[in-house]
Symmetry: C2
Subunit: 192 residues, 2 copies
DNA sequence: TGACATTCCTAATATTGTTAGGTAATATCC
DNA sequence: GGATATTACCTAACAATATTAGGAATGTCA
């Protein structure tokens, strides 16, 4: 019996490929094993069962998302940075649907890593929004608003919730613009 | 063997109870059957397997949500109507977590009924937002923005995505306020 | 009472996840 | 280079759930 020479990385990639193509609920140990040409129990060498696999995907997805968001805002500030980060978020969810779905399950597989990554993402968002004037008590509100818009668009888009023949990217840009315009009208025009 | 005298309604309610208490992925035919004191195969009298059950929940959830949204806006207009509808949305998702989750699966169990209900909800949202001045081309953008905020807040809230000790209701109110302020700053102050 | 439909059941099968333990290939140590 | 330990993968077996087939008990109505 020749050895396949697998790694946790290979298992993860197989899982992601299935998740992106057929949805996260189609990611079964059987499907992964078939794809890797091994038997199901062999996967337990690399992954702690199905829960462990899901946790793996959640952590990887959050890392990936955090890196994309951080990269998107490099060298930008004000409105540009906010738009760039938002666009990166939507793009990530669209290009990695399975991974994005897995990353949403953080609550279910909560451990230190996912909590830490979530906080890092919130910090990133907080930084690009800090350029706008705001009452201190509104800072959390604003971060939550931005995250909700991003996640809401990504989620509805992924679930085919947008039926009208209008560009989702344009709608998203509009939403960010309205959000920033609202802030500026509340706190003054010399912002961003 | 005494007959239980069940109905589709009873099966649905059992499924909802489990979904709300333990999450939608815990809604198995086995769990429902146990709760109703019958055997699993007996459920096939009322429901077309697990896919049929999920479809049932999605339809029921959308109907429920549509009714709540319609009721919330009765007798109100302008900003009040928008806030009321948004609050009703968040409240629905919080008080009926399992049903809300099921309603999000519309895409997976898409049939005429779910499509019709989705459109009805979008129409309701469109009506309360129509009171605000806007370019015709921005109407879809605005409806999408509102839906994304509602769904984003509801979803992150449900997944324990909001860790800060700040009221989610206040954050949501803030978000709607900023959205409306953004519109008004773009299209004029004599709105709402 | 007897034909019939309905409701619920048992029995059987398929799929998936999981554990236990074995075998063969590979790496390590003298 | 050979003994030994580790590793990678396997088969076997079992549990849980979904589903289908078909049977028995219950209720309805002429």
């Amino acid at each position: 019996m020749a050895k396949a020479g697998l790694t946790e990385e290979a298992v993860r990639q197989a899982a992601i490929a299935i998740a992106d193509k057929k949805g996260l609920n189609q990611v079964t140990l059987k499907a992964i094993a078939d794809r890797l040409r091994i038997k199901t129990p062999s996967l337990y060498t690399y992954v702690d069962g199905l829960p462990g696999l899901n946790n793996l995907l959640a952590v990887y997805g959050l890392q990936y998302l955090r890196n994309e968001l951080a990269e998107a805002a490099v060298g930008l500030s004000g409105k540009d940075a906010v738009h760039a980060m938002g666009s990166a978020y939507i793009r990530f969810a669209r290009e990695n649907p399975g991974l994005y779905e897995a990353a949403q399950w953080v609550n279910k597989w909560q451990d230190e890593r996912t909590e830490k990554l979530s906080n890092e993402i919130i910090d990133l968002v907080g930084k690009v929004l800090a350029a706008f004037p705001q009452a201190e008590k509104d800072q959390t509100h604003l971060i939550r608003m931005f995250r909700s818009i991003c996640h809401g668009f990504a989620s509805l888009d992924r679930n085919h919730g947008f039926g009208m023949p209008v560009s989702v990217e344009e709608s998203f840009f509009f939403a960010i613009e309205m959000m920033l315009a609202g802030i500026q009208s509340k706190y003054g025009e010399n912002a961003g």
